[in-house]
């Protein structure tokens, strides 16, 4: 996607807010959660994924990225010992998403494997207040004239407008609300991975697709401003750099350029650790870089956990 997040914003009629919303910040700052003790565990978990997980010297990204993700989710899930309502979540892997919408007479569609999806039984409460939503009316969407906003999008002849609840689940599924999407860029070769800007755009598009499909399932197909906005979160990583995103769908009326806009809060390029040295680097018989994880940032893990707990705590 060419201009990254800016283009995605235009396509989904969204206003960008830097940083994470106040509700998530509140969870992070809540001392009752005991986030300090978890830091030690988070460090162990990062060391496990990056250093200890393999019988070879150093694991490759294809191995350590999913392992790191699984370990972080394991720590988050263990919190459900203290908060029993956390067990009302279910991870779904390899689910396909499909959602269509019209944007100024251009028909757009999001399709494909959307990574790992976590569903919950209860929806996330809206993050932005009503005033903020109404204030977005005055926000003007950025256009990049003369570049058409649909640059770099694949033009396909769509014969069936698919909207099958967006998620790939049948009716009656108890965990019906999409909570968080996880994207793991785990290709070994750097050119096969998405760059951070494109990763954020991809996260935005898929979060929007899921939210739109959920909104259509709840409120029907007509285009209008939603009474209860749908909130979907998204986390993307390549094993070291994390991108956090909270998306709130306020309106399904995407044809026109004015009116209430959707909101997205993005916290980008958060490093979980600086470097992970498997073998100590020795130059002229002096150890310059000792083995281990250096520059661990507990804040990034706190954000991960806060996004996980959001909606239940």
């Amino acid at each position: 996607v060419f201009a990254g997040v800016r283009q995605a914003q235009w396509l989904t009629k969204t206003k960008l807010v830097e940083g994470l919303p106040a509700a998530v910040q509140g969870i992070m700052d809540n001392p009752a959660l005991g986030l300090q003790e978890l830091e030690e565990r988070a460090k162990h978990v990062v060391s496990h994924a990056r250093l200890w997980d393999t019988a070879e010297v150093a694991p490759r990204r294809e191995k350590y990225c999913p392992v790191l993700f699984e370990n972080l989710i394991h720590i988050c899930r263990l919190m459900s010992g203290n908060y029993p309502s956390l067990s009302k979540r279910m991870l779904a892997r390899n689910c396909r998403i499909a959602a269509t919408w019209e944007r100024e007479s251009i028909l757009l569609q999001v399709r494909g494997l959307s990574g790992i999806l976590m569903n919950s039984m209860t929806p996330i409460p809206p993050v932005a207040s009503k005033e903020e939503i109404l204030a977005t009316k005055d926000h003007v969407l950025e256009t990049f004239y003369p570049i058409a906003p649909t640059i770099d999008l694949q033009e396909v002849n769509v014969y069936k407008e698919l909207n099958d609840t967006g998620q790939c689940f049948r009716d009656g599924y108890p965990y019906s609300h999409p909570h968080t999407l996880f994207f793991l860029e785990s290709a070994n070769v750097r050119t096969d991975r998405f760059r951070p800007e494109q990763l954020r755009a991809k996260m935005l598009m898929f979060a929007f697709g899921n939210a739109l499909a959920k909104a259509k399932a709840l409120h029907g197909n007509d285009l209008k401003v939603l009474e209860e906005p749908v909130v979907v979160q998204s986390i993307g990583t390549d094993g070291q750099l994390f991108q956090f995103m909270v998306f709130q769908l306020n309106t399904t009326d995407l044809v026109s350029n004015d009116g209430v806009k959707n909101l997205v809060w993005i916290d980008s390029d958060q490093n979980l650790y600086e470097r992970a040295q498997c073998v100590p680097e020795v130059k002229k018989k002096v150890v310059t870089k000792p083995a281990g994880i250096s520059g661990f940032q507990p804040d990034t893990f706190k954000k991960f956990l806060a996004l996980y707990l959001h909606g239940t705590v």
């Binding site: 496990h48 250093l51 019988a55 459900s80 010992g81 991870l91």
Partner: protein, 453 residues
């Protein structure tokens, strides 16, 4: 050596005349001559034993565990690859003889492990912690009436909500098999399509919800598709062909295992029975291992529990194994080998658990010459998606080589159940015939922890 010999000839001459030289500078506390030992390089039995001794001393004196492991597996020779999931007939008897394991049917008696004066408290804890009143008969028989009343009274706190766990399990099952729209399974990859993800979901959600009750789980580490390897010697054979023909060599084995899921913990599980207990006999098989069939290959001798030595979670708790499509029940029934179905589960349990516990012991510095001083206990669940079999293994000895096994009375012990179905069928969004016993058993396993926690 020649120079030394000549010097020896000269010295007695001088000594003869200077016996009474006063003020002998070095009092003869240290021996005058270097010890007379066999050569280290000659082609003789004495030289071979000297080389072995030197190797043992080297490994004993290794500074770190990684160094020990490296020296232990340094010499590469052709070895038998033992596969835990195998279609070989009666493989569990062979595996028991390779690993010196006694198979005890049924599960280890948990209450019996507590000593008699603590029996009441231990049994109370057991009854209150694990069961709803009036559930499994053997446990209630072990803890007679005394435990019932305090158990029921204290039932509030350690009581396990079986209804909620059942709904979690059913949700996981339904999601994987019914609700999530998936493409058709790839050819012969049915296990990756539904039972694999179901097992992952089930274990992760159950472990998370039980972590409040078991602090060991709260500090655990969950591995998905880890690697577990172990290399050992057992018995002796004569080399059949090649440039080493005619020499007596130890029989080498290697297990390379990939459990579906594994839980590792920082503290060891408690012992089930004392170290020197004898609960049965180890089968003795007179044939060569290649008759099983087992084949030899030469490659790296790995000892690995799932993560490196530096990991604080270095003890094992539970492993979960998924049987592949090749070993499904229908295939055995079609070929009229119904009795081999249980053999598959047993051989998987014994081999995988032996490899895991032995590798854990090696990570603590024990090896065949330095036998374990405390038993290592781990658990495993072997399943094909519907039928579950539970195993508990206690490693009492690592000394399986030809020299060390001569005076070794200890045997490893494996408790195992038969495979039972968790549910009958999944139809239209409902799970029919859900078996609570199997779920309870699984919960038992996950709640297992050292006494002090």
């Amino acid at each position: 050596m020649a120079a030394l010999g000549a010097w020896r000839l000269l010295r007695p001459g001088r000594r003869w005349f200077s016996e009474t030289v006063p003020g002998d500078p070095s009092p003869p506390s240290s021996p005058l001559y270097p010890p007379v030992v066999a050569s280290a390089t000659a082609k003789s039995k004495a030289a071979k034993s000297r080389r072995l001794q030197r190797f043992n001393q080297q490994v004993h004196a290794a500074a770190t565990v990684e160094e020990k492991l490296r020296l232990y597996g340094k010499l590469q020779r052709p070895k038998y690859t033992v596969y835990p999931q195998t279609f070989a007939l009666n493989a569990d008897r062979w595996y028991r003889s390779f690993t010196r394991t006694v198979l005890v049917p049924g599960m280890p008696p948990r209450g019996a492990a507590a000593k008699p004066p603590v029996a009441a408290a231990g049994a109370t804890l057991e009854a209150g912690r694990a069961l709803e009143p009036g559930a499994e008969a053997p446990e209630v028989a072990e803890a007679p009436g005394v435990a019932e009343a305090p158990g029921a009274a204290a039932g509030a706190a350690p009581h396990v909500d079986i209804g909620e766990l059942r709904s979690l399990a059913c949700d996981a099952l339904l999601q994987e098999s019914f609700y999530q729209k998936k493409k058709r399974p790839f050819l012969y990859r049915d296990q990756d399509h539904t039972p694999g993800p179901f097992l992952t979901q089930l274990v992760s959600t159950l472990a998370a919800s039980l972590s409040g009750r078991n602090p060991l789980l709260a500090a655990s580490s969950l591995d998905l598709s880890p690697e577990v390897n172990y290399y050992w010697h057992h018995g002796e054979e004569v080399v059949v062909h090649g440039h080493r023909k005619g020499r007596v060599d130890p029989v080498r084995f290697q297990i390379d295992d990939n459990p579906h899921l594994q839980i590792r913990v920082p503290k060891q599980l408690p012992e089930v029975v004392p170290l020197e207990s004898d609960l049965g006999d180890v089968p003795v098989i007179d044939h060569k291992p290649s008759k099983l069939p087992l084949f030899k290959k030469q490659y790296e001798n790995k000892v690995f529990i799932g993560s490196k030595v530096a990991d604080p979670c270095c003890y094992g708790h539970t492993q979960f194994h998924l049987l592949p499509d090749k070993l499904k029940r229908e295939r055995f029934i079609r070929e009229r080998l119904e009795d081999q179905i249980e053999v598959v589960y047993r051989s998987n349990g014994i081999a995988s658990l032996f490899a895991w516990t032995a590798a854990q012991a090696m990570y603590q510095g024990f090896w065949s010459e330095a036998d374990v001083t405390r038993p290592f206990v781990s658990q495993a669940v072997v399943t094909d998606g519907k039928y579950f079999a539970f195993f508990c293994y206690q490693l009492n000895t690592l000394a399986l080589t030809a020299e060390t096994i001569k005076n070794n009375p200890r045997k490893n012990i494996c408790w195992g159940t038969d495979s039972k179905p968790l549910y009958d069928v999944v139809e239209d969004g409902n799970v029919k015939g859900f078996n609570d016993e199997v779920l309870l058993h699984l919960v038992h396993f996950l709640l297992n922890r050292p006494k002090e926690l």
